[in-house]
């Protein structure tokens, strides 16, 4: 059963086998009971799966209801950003992704006949990070690796071929009607996470809007398997001889599969474009006539950028593509969605435990709408640059490209995709604004930057010390931490304390031998950072003050 049957086709011989999952008849069908879960997740795409695993890290019970019986098919996400890998590392999935994926940090941009790039960009601005700027990996692998984590997380389960067909968003619970091949049943939850993709049936059931723009253009996307020694770099062409007047892209994936995009324009005969001979001709024009290749998948896409007005609707919360959809040129779809998960799960946990008031969930709206706006803006601008809407914008676009051959300034205007970066969450109501002098680099709202450290003589990474709980980071000149600093937080809302020091005699503190943490965090002895469970900075001071920390903690938890 194809998940996205309408978006393409594949030659069965060339196609990689995608994993399928067995249908197990839910006990509720025979018992007739309405089981209750703290959280039900509709949709087992990357966002729903990550939500379930993250919740179980907090000890929250959940179930994933997935309509189909297989991981994603078709040509979907390939580029996973550094921040996504950091988040999935907290969940335990990144190691396999990086092992299987293709690491890349650079993009090259070409224009016209020129065989040399008109410019190159490097996406890893801070070096010495655990993860690269990006890896490329077929979306279904990421899904498989997340699914493989389920057996070791008994707090959650996946039910395949369980389709959500009805929701009742009640005052004290959501009741969900589920259809399966063995019959229907009802189940209920405190919160329903609607991660049911861009066509979101749940959004439709609630009659909610999903508005934005359709880009009047078509892109032929082919995943081909071939042995080629092209570099593992995102290579992008404007107006190449093999696709005149249009753009093209080639990018390496795992298993010797390459993603090739051809912009094909708006007024086309879709069937004609998709004919095998015509696809062959395009690929041959690009790759030459002697390379042997097989098709994994070929599809023709039209792209949209849309989002919901609000993501939180009482007890139903939208995450991932159901909440926001972007054109893929910035790789901001799944990467944005994984950040939704990171932002939402700790808040759900605190609200379910009664530690934070339900209004903390409104900050998911504040913070992730801001992020979605950024993603929509950047993706729209890239798409506009590729598909100029008028003669004058085409003239500006081509002038920019010609100037870019000669001048650095013009290269800054060239927009072949602004690739996913984490949202800074500036202005979030959860941030405590700085009152002391600090550099901007790690201001409140930003996710923490990684750095190599050592603990008890062993090499480690800073980010692996953070997450799931609030953490206070105390920068110490001698590795000792005054008792009063450890005594923040409460039993219900614990704050772990980490001590960072440059000196080697720090006991079990984090040794910042290279001083990179001190540099990134503009830290001096005495500096104290309060970090959220999603590794974003909540507040920071030059000097620890218990009252101020308590206030910041209250603020960061919506109290």
């Amino acid at each position: 059963m194809a998940k996205y049957g309408d978006t393409g086709s594949a030659k069965p011989t060339g196609r990689q086998a995608r994993r399928t999952y067995e249908f197990v008849k839910p006990a509720e069908i025979d018992s007739g009971e309405t089981t209750h879960f703290p959280v039900i997740i509709a949709g087992g795409g990357p966002i729903g799966l990550a939500t379930a695993i993250d919740l179980s890290h907090h000890g929250v019970q959940s179930v994933v209801l997935e309509k189909h019986n297989s991981v994603s098919d078709g040509s979907r996400a390939i580029c996973w950003a550094k921040r996504t890998l950091e988040i999935l590392d907290r969940l335990g999935a990144s190691e396999r992704m990086v092992d299987k994926g293709v690491v890349w940090n650079q993009g090259w941009v070409y224009f016209g006949e020129e065989t040399e790039p008109i410019y190159k960009f490097d996406l890893l601005s801070d070096k010495e990070q655990k993860f690269p700027a990006f890896i490329n990996l077929q979306q279904f692998y990421a899904e498989e690796y997340l699914i493989d984590l389920f057996p070791s997380h008994p707090e959650t389960e996946i039910r395949c071929q369980n389709e959500v067909v009805g929701v009742d968003n009640g005052e004290d619970k959501v009741t969900v009607t589920v259809k399966t091949p063995a019959g229907s049943y009802k189940t209920s939850c405190d919160y329903l996470v609607a991660a049911d993709g861009h066509r979101s049936p749940i959004r439709n059931m609630l009659g909610l809007d999903f508005t934005g723009r359709v880009f009047e253009d078509n892109f032929l996307i082919a995943d081909v398997r071939m042995k080629a020694d092209f570099p593992a770099i995102r290579r992008f062409w404007f107006d190449p001889p093999f696709n005149p007047g249009q753009t093209s892209l080639i990018h390496k994936q795992a298993d010797d599969v390459w993603r090739i995009d051809f912009q094909v324009g708006w007024d086309i005969d879709r069937e004609e474009v998709m004919k095998k001979a015509n696809v062959d001709a395009k690929i041959r024009a690009f790759l030459g006539s002697d390379l042997e290749f097989e098709y994994e998948w070929v599809s023709l896409y039209t792209f949209k950028c849309c989002r919901m007005k609000k993501f939180v609707h009482d007890r139903i919360i939208f995450a991932g593509d159901s909440a926001h959809l972007v054109s893929p040129f910035g790789a901001r779809g799944a990467n944005g969605g994984i950040q939704d998960v990171d932002n939402l799960v700790w808040k759900l946990d605190l609200v379910l435990k009664g530690v934070a008031p339900p209004r903390l969930l409104n900050s998911y709206d504040d913070e992730r709408i801001l992020a979605a706006e950024e993603n929509v803006l950047n993706s729209s601008r890239s798409t506009d640059f590729m598909t100029p809407k008028s003669k004058v914008s085409l003239a500006f676009r081509n002038a920019t490209l010609e100037l870019a051959k000669d001048f650095e300034f013009a290269r800054k205007f060239v927009n072949p995709g602004r690739l996913s970066t984490p949202s800074a969450l500036d202005g979030s109501p959860l941030n405590t604004p700085d009152e002391d002098e600090f550099s901007d680099k790690q201001r409140p709202g930003l996710p923490c930057l990684d750095a190599p450290v050592s603990i008890n003589g062993a090499d480690d990474w800073f980010l692996n010390q953070l997450g799931n709980r609030f953490t206070g980071i105390y920068f110490s000149d001698n590795g000792t931490t005054p008792e009063k600093i450890k005594a923040v937080g409460s039993v219900q809302l614990p704050v772990d304390t980490l001590t960072v020091t440059k000196t080697k005699t720090g006991g079990d503190s984090i040794i910042d031998a290279k001083g990179l943490l001190h540099q990134h965090y503009d830290a001096q002895p005495g500096t104290y950072y309060l970090i959220r469970p999603d590794q974003h900075v909540s507040a920071r001071w030059r000097e620890f003050d218990r009252d101020k920390v308590s206030k910041a903690l209250a603020r960061a938890t919506g109290r």
Binding site: F407, E408, F409, K412, F413
Partner: protein, 67 residues
């Protein structure tokens, strides 16, 4: 270019500026677009003032053709 013209990046948010520039033309006819482009050039030329710089630009764009 070896002249006085500065060609290193100078606009602080290139994507914002580019989008504003393109939006400026939204809904205009090609004639109207030409006219506002001309106005933009003249105003910026006046701001720059230094004719050595201005002539350097004119020579460059003409030399590189209109293609």
């Amino acid at each position: 270019m070896a002249g006085k013209l500065r060609t290193e990046p100078g606009v602080d948010n290139p994507d914002d500026f580019y989008a504003r520039l393109i939006d400026l033309h939204e809904g205009l006819s090609s004639e109207e677009s030409h006219k506002i482009n001309a106005k933009v050039i003249l105003m910026l030329a006046n701001h720059v003032g230094d004719t050595e710089v201005l002539y350097e630009v004119l020579e460059y764009v003409r030399e590189k053709g209109t293609g």
